[in-house]
Amino acid sequence: MTLKNIIIAASLALTVAAAAFAEEPKNAPAAAAPAASAPAVPGAPVVAAPGATAAVPAAAAPLTKKRELKANKAITLSMFAVIIGITLGVVVWAARQTKTTADFYAAGGGITGTQNGWAIAGDYMSAASFLGISGMISLYGYDGFMYSVGWLVAYITVLLIVAEPCRNAGKYTLGDILSFRTDPKPVRAVAAISTVAVSTFYLTAQMVGAGKLMALLVGVPYKTAIIGVGILMVGYVVFGGMTATTWVQIIKAGLLMSGAFLLSVLVLAKAGFNPIFFFDQIVNSPDIQDHVSKLVLKDGIVLNGIDAGQRFLEPGLFMKAPLDQISLGMALVLGTAGMPHILMRFFTVPTAQAARKSVIIAMFIIGGFYVLTTLLGFGAAINLTPQGIISVDPGGNMATLMLAQQLGADISPILGDLFLAFLCSVAFATILAVVSGLVLAASAAIAHDIYVNVIKDGHADQHEQVMAARITSLVVGAVGILIGLMAEKANVAHLVALAFAVASSGNLPVVVLSLFWRKFNTAGVISGLVVGTVASIGLVMVSPNMTYPKLVAKGAEKVIAAMEKKQAALAPGAVLGEKDVKALEKAKKDVLDKDGTSIMGLSEPILKLKNPGIISIPLGFMAAILGALLFPNKRAEEMFDEVYVRQNTGLGMAKAIDH
C-alpha cells in the first residue's frame, strides 16, 4: 500500500513540476527573438522549429549556399541496431549480477577508477556538448570555445571538494551524505525532492532534444523516437541497474571520443596538419568574413575583409551579457559537483583513491573532447561556411554531422554516408547514456531515501529494496516518456541551465557544509536546500527565459513591417518565398496577443539574467548557514568528528559498501 502511495505521490510531483515548465511557452521559438537562432544553452540540442529560419532576417542566406543533411536511413538504422544489440547484451549480463541493493545503485562498488572515469565522461557529455558547442563555434567562433571551458573547470570542484569525501561518507544517494549527522527523515525527504527536481529538469531537456534530433536525422516521428529512447532507457536501468548504466556510459564515451578524434584528423588533414595554416584559413575565408560582417552590423559596427575574419577569433559575437556568462560559469563550476547523477558515480568505486583517479581520467576525456570540438567547430566554419550551416539549422546544431558527411564524401561518397551514420549513432548512444544516468539517480532518491528510509525506517530486506528500486525506475522512466511526449512544442532550452542552478544553489552548499563545517545541522540542510532550490526556480520564472507575449508581439510587428517592405521591393506580381509567408503568418498570429503576460503574470522579465546563479548561489549558502546558526544542534556538532574522520580516512567505509 505504502509503496503504491509513494509511487503515485512521486509521479504526481514529477509531472506537476515538469508540466509547470513544459506547458508554458506553446509558441516558444519566438518569431523575432534573435535567441531563437542561438545555439542551445547547455543541454539538449534544441533544434529550432521550422519557421524560425525565416524569422531571423539576417539568416537569409544566399540560395547558392543552401545545403541539405539527410542521413542514409538504412545504414543509420542498422548502426542504431548494432548499438542497441550491444547494450542489450550488456544489460542481460548486468542483470545476472544485480542481486543486492548495492549492486543496483552502486554496481556493488566493483567499478574500477578507469572505468568510472569513462563512465563519468559518458554521463556528463550530453548531445548538446557534442552537437551544440561545435555548432556555436562554427557560427560565433571564439565565444563557443570560451563557453566550453566552464564545463571542464567544473571538475576541479568535483575533484578537490566532493569526490573523495562523498565516496568515504556516502552510500548511494545525496540523502545518505546529508543525513549522516542530522535528523534523517526530513533531510532525506528534502534531498530526494531536490534530486528529483534536478533530474527531471535535465531529463525533460534531454528527452525533447532526443525526439527532435532523431526526427531530424533519420526521419523517425518525434513520438516514436521518444517512446523508443524511453523504453531502452527504462530497460537498461530496471534490469541492469548501475552496472548496465555504467557500461552504456562507457561505450558511449568511447564512441564519442573515437568519432570526435576521427573527424578532427580529417579536419586537420585538410589544413595539412598545420595549425597556423588552419587559423589563417578561418581569418581569410570570404564566407566567414561575410558572416561576421553581418553579425557585427546588427550592433552598428562596420567591419570587412580580413578584419571581419579576425573578429571571428575574438570574444563578443554571441555572449553579449557578461554578467550572465559569469553567472552561468558559477552555476557550472559549483553545480556539476552538486548533480545527483554525477555524485552517484562515486559510490560505484571501491575506494577514495579510485574516486580520485576516476575524476582525473574523466577530466582528460572531457577536456580532450572540448579541445577537439574547437577543431570541429572551426573546421565546419571553414569547410561548410556559416551560411551553409545556418541553412540546415539556424542554431548550428547540425554542424558536426554535416562536416562528417562532407569530409567523408570528399574521400568517397559512400564514406560520407557511413561517417554521418556513425556520428548519428554516437548521438543516439549519447542520449541513451545520459538519460539512463538521470533515471537511475532520480529513482535512487525516491526508492532509497523516501521509501526505504523515510517510510520503512530503513527496515526493508534486500529483496524488497531491489524490488522498490526497480519499480521506481520503471515509474520514473514512464513519467520521463510522458513528459517528453507532452513537451514536444515547449521551450526546454532553459531547463538544463535551471538544473545546474538548482544543483549549485541548493545541493552544493549543503554538501560542502555537511562535510566541512562542524556547526552544520538539520535546520541548515533544510533551509539551504529549500531556499537554494526555490530561489533558482523562482528567479528563472521571472527571467527572460520565459515567454512574454507582449515582447513577442512587439517583435512580430517588426517582422510584419520587414516582410511588407520585402514584398514592396519585389517585382510586381512576384510573391514571397514559402518560408517568408510562414513567418508572416506566425507573426500575424503573435501580434494579436499584445496584452498577454507570461505564466507569472508579467508583461516583461523582472530579472535581466538568464542564469540565476550569481544571486541564487549566495542565497543558498546564506540560508544554509543562517538556518544552522539559528537552530544549533549539539548532537550534530558532536558527530562532526566522526564525519570528518570518515571522509578523510575512509574508516568505517566497509560498512557503507554493504558486503
Binding site: Y142, V149, L152, I161, V283, I326, Q353, G650
Partner: protein
C-alpha cells in the same frame, strides 16, 4: 547510525590526523580558489578587456585563444599535481594513522 567501533573524537585529536587535516584543507581550498579565480578571469577578461584578448601572439592566433586553451592545461596540470600530492602525502599520512590506531 554507525556502531561505536571507533572513538572518533580521539582519532580527530590524534596528531597524525591533525597534520593530515591541516595539510589537506590548505591544499584543497587554496588550489580550488586559485582555479576558480583563473577561470573567472576568462569571462571577465573577455567582457572587460577585449583589447588584451585581441593581441595577436602566433600568426593570427590571439591572446584570448591562447588564454582559453591554457584553461584546459591549467586544469589538467592541477589535477595531476593533486593526484601526485594526494598519492604521496595524504595517502601516506592516512595509512600511518590507521597503522598507529591498529585498525
Amino acid at each position: 547510525m554507525a556502531e561505536k567501533k571507533y572513538d572518533w573524537a580521539a582519532i580527530a585529536k590524534n596528531p597524525k590526523f591533525v597534520e593530515l587535516h591541516h595539510k589537506k584543507q590548505a591544499f584543497l581550498f587554496g588550489w580550488w580558489i586559485f582555479s576558480s579565480l583563473y577561470y573567472f578571469l576568462l569571462p571577465i577578461g573577455a567582457a572587460y578587456a577585449p583589447g588584451l584578448f585581441k593581441i595577436k601572439m602566433i600568426g593570427v592566433i590571439n591572446f584570448g585563444y591562447v588564454f582559453a586553451l591554457s584553461q584546459f592545461f591549467v586544469s589538467w596540470a592541477l589535477a595531476l599535481y593533486y593526484a601526485h600530492v594526494a598519492n604521496k602525502d595524504f595517502d601516506r599520512l592516512t595509512k600511518e594513522l590507521i597503522n598507529e590506531l591498529h585498525l
